[in-house]
Amino acid sequence: MSSTDLSTLLQVAWLIIFILIITGLYQRIQLKLWILNIKIRLNTIKSIFEEDKIRVKNMLRNMGLATSEVLLTRLLDFFTIEPVSIEPTDIIKRMDHLLRLTENSIKKLVEEALPNIGKNERSLVESTISIVAAIGLIYKIVRHYIIQGEREENYILIMQLTYLMPQILKITKIYHEALDAFMYGKPIGDGVGPLVAYMLAEKCNVTSKRVIDDTSVLEAVYKDRKLIIVKAEGPGSNVGHPGAVINRIVEELNGNVNLILTIDAALKLEGEDSGSIAEGVGAAIGDPGPEKIAIERAASKYNIPLRALVIKMDLREALTVIRKKIYESCEAAVSYIDRIIEESTTKGSTIIIAGIGNTMGIPG
């Protein structure tokens, strides 16, 4: 190729680039590439959603429900409308009412469809359908924005979605992986709170057990102190109502409680070790509000020290089968509790220990 030919070629190339820039065509090409990128990932989410729906249908069929489509259609689109927040009076009471109503409505629908299976199996069905509903919701929201963005040629919307897609896909895959644990009732990472509570109860001399509001309350004697161990009633998929129950126990004891200790799973920051234990002050509970505020109110009303212990993990570890390393951290957490009890209370004290989280696969 002679130097004249090369020069002509470069001039044509520059001309093409110039035309693309002044006409805005390069932006259209970029937009089409972004849309293609989103659609490829959206198809992956769709296939995960379809696959998981089939898995749940098979699960329901094995449990004796031949026509699972009716139940799935009702539950996959089930929603809860948030309470009015511009008028905050009684918002916790209203939110608690709506959350309990959601819980009871789903329970009732599943119970009506599957009357011949046990309470634990029903709880697994409820949680499994909730996971598929979450994947379905992700799929529908992404589909909504891609259709809207493409129709309106909204560059900003499509660009934001493009860069969010890897994170959205990652969360979808975590939910997909979590389905296995929920279908078979395996303990999950989020269950570290109830697991530590169970391990502690195993070490104690348990004197009584009662169930209030889907939550187990075990009274025990440990190191010459009265322990009241609170955890969701297991081994089904259940988080119970630890806040309301702790509040009730504190009122029953007229505030004569020397320490409230909550144990929960916490999402770690990138770079932190999974299974590491940290302690602090406050109520370690990740509910939307009603349970947490109930613990805080009970503690502040009677000036009871409120301590927290967390075991760190990432989202994948929290929602899927508990990793061996995190399981071993639970054993270490029991020793940690021993230390807190000895340091913060004296013999004869009354201590409430609450294991917060989903108790699936963990009895008591």
Binding site: Y198, V321, I322, I362
Partner: protein, 78 residues
């Protein structure tokens, strides 16, 4: 030209490393059973319906009853 080739090779290497880094590990669910008599511990695969604290199987050493001590995921390297 050499610089361009080097740049392309570096980009291919980077994407390969990124893919390897992103490859998710797989886990199998195992359960640890402890003998209530001699405290002997065995590990086996999880079976549907099992939960922590469930009494199942007999001890291969003393024939005593065994209890599920723990259920957890163990990483599998393929």
């Amino acid at each position: 030209m050499a610089l361009l080739i080097l740049l392309v090779l570096y980009m291919i290497y980077e994407s390969y490393i990124k893919k390897r880094r992103e490859k998710e590990s797989t886990y199998v669910t195992r359960e640890a059973l402890i003998c209530l008599n001699c405290r002997y511990v065995i590990e086996k695969d999880f079976e549907p319906g099992d939960f922590i604290g469930l009494i199942k199987d007999t001890c291969p050493r003393c024939g005593g009853k065994m209890k599920i001590k723990g259920i957890y995921g163990v990483e599998v390297r393929i």
